[in-house]
């Protein structure tokens, strides 16, 4: 169904933007894709629609802007309820578990991944690597609990935690290559490896995940930009 006034302000490289697009694809909602160049100064639209954080993604529905990817996901789930694909579980306890693990991805796992990407010294990188790998083991455990033997964290279908973590898979591969390690390894996290393949192949996901080489190239530019900015503030 074509929806007017549904817009995503973001960039192809951002996992947070990917989350929003996956959710919209799941719900079969058509949207306008507005690209923000992360390597250029921030656009007027971004500054106006997200004055608090000035970050992408910004989701627009009937001209109302919504920020923060996990909040956008819940909004999409609550507005487009006709589809069979529910992003959050219907049971309140299971919902709380999904929210807990998505928060873990954003508050613990992603920051460690980011530190691994921009780590300036060998020591920084080593510490971040240990944290990231430790995190994958924790998530392997979470997968066991939440999936209940099915293919996804959400069970038979992809859900909130699948989208939260799965959107990071491109970056996980790029950063892993940079460190010459498989961050999600068969040895430590066999179920996550299988899950990653299923997730990446999903109808709603496969056209959203970026080309890994293109992402690696972008990663180098982004890392340089971040390190330069950090150097200026020190």
């Amino acid at each position: 169904m074509a929806e007017s006034n549904v817009k995503v302000l973001g960039t192809w490289a951002s996992p947070f933007v990917m989350r929003v697009k996956i959710a919209l694809h799941l719900k079969s909602v058509r949207y306008e894709d507005v690209e923000e160049d992360l390597l250029a100064p921030k656009s007027e639209l971004l500054l106006k629609s997200n004055p608090v954080y000035k970050k992408i993604p910004v989701f627009f529905h009937a001209h109302n802007p919504i920020c923060e990817s996990l909040i956008i996901l819940q909004y999409i789930d609550e507005v487009w309820t006709t589809s069979a694909s529910s992003i959050l579980p219907s049971d309140p306890y299971e919902r709380s578990q999904s929210r807990f693990w998505a928060a873990y991805v954003d508050d613990k796992f992603f920051p460690a991944l980011r530190r691994l990407l921009i780590g300036a010294t060998e020591e920084d990188k080593k510490a971040a690597l240990a944290e990231v790998v430790g995190g994958t083991v924790v998530l392997e455990g979470a997968f066991g609990e939440l999936s209940k033997g099915k293919a996804f964290f959400g069970g038979d279908n992809i859900g909130f935690v699948d989208i939260a973590l799965g959107s990071l898979l491109g970056w996980i591969e790029v950063i892993g290559k940079q460190c010459e390690t498989k961050l999600v390894s068969e040895a430590k996290t066999p179920r996550l490896v299988q899950w990653a393949d299923c997730f990446s192949a999903h109808e709603a996901v496969k056209d959203v995940l970026p080309d890994v080489d293109k992402l690696a190239d972008f990663g180098l530019k982004l890392r340089a930009k971040i390190l330069k900015a950090l150097a200026l503030t020190n």
Binding site: Q74, Y93, F100, V138
Partner: protein, 221 residues
């Protein structure tokens, strides 16, 4: 309604714990409060929150729910009929969640902690950012009695616990939050008129004593 077994593992000065206390009080849910000694965490805490090993932990019929924002939403969904905390409209819900998340990112975080853990230029910068964030919240409150409108809502529950810490911040930072953000202080006092809030927040002098104690323990001047 069937007998509910609700336990809260908590620590009296924790603003995160206070959120859950307020939410449960608003819903008029009876529960068992268990005070944790954070230097000597109980087996129950470690079992119920193995990932973070932190309070608060809400245990409902034996099952744990962790992370205060998750807990408040859970409480709202399990007991929806009394004092609904999140609005029914999806866009308003998104706005409420956004500001709740903002409180966690900006009001409670390493940066605002610097208001009482640092001195000099670093402290001044932290104070400035802290006030700026409070002013943004004042803007969001506007002319409403509460962030939730006519009644306490999600953002009120998430933010008001920090009011118990304001006095300590003011003493350590040598500034007046009321002078900078009078509307916000008026809102906080309005919230404190409700039993669910006043009975869930410790006395601000006690929090100040606790902060002084922490400073001593961590060797902060």
């Amino acid at each position: 309604m069937a007998d509910e077994d609700v336990v809260l593992l908590d620590f009296w000065p924790s603003p995160f714990g206070m959120r859950v206390r307020i939410a449960l009080a608003e819903k008029e849910i009876k529960y068992e409060y268990k005070e944790e000694d954070l230097r000597n965490k109980s087996d129950l805490l470690l079992k119920m929150n193995p990932i973070h090993k932190k309070i608060p932990v809400l245990i409902h019929n034996g099952k744990p729910v962790c992370e205060s924002l998750v807990q408040v939403q859970y409480i709202d969904e399990i007991w929806p009929h009394k004092s609904p905390l999140l609005p029914t409209d999806p866009y308003q819900r998104a706005i409420a969640r956004f500001w709740g998340d903002f409180v966690d990112k900006k009001i409670y975080g390493l940066e605002s902690g610097k208001v009482w853990t640092t001195k000099g230029e670093e402290q001044e910068a932290a104070k400035k950012e802290f006030i700026e964030c409070l002013k943004l919240l004042e803007g969001e409150l506007g002319n409403k009695a509460y962030f939730g409108g006519e009644n306490l809502g999600y953002v009120d529950v998430v933010l008001v616990p920090f009011y118990s810490w304001f006095y300590a911040y003011e003493k350590c930072g040598n500034f007046s939050i009321e002078t900078e953000c009078p509307k916000l202080i008026a809102w906080a006092k309005r919230c404190m008129e409700k039993d669910s809030v006043s009975k869930s927040l410790p006395d601000q002098d006690k929090i100040y004593d606790y902060v002084l104690h922490l400073k001593k323990v961590f060797g902060i001047e």
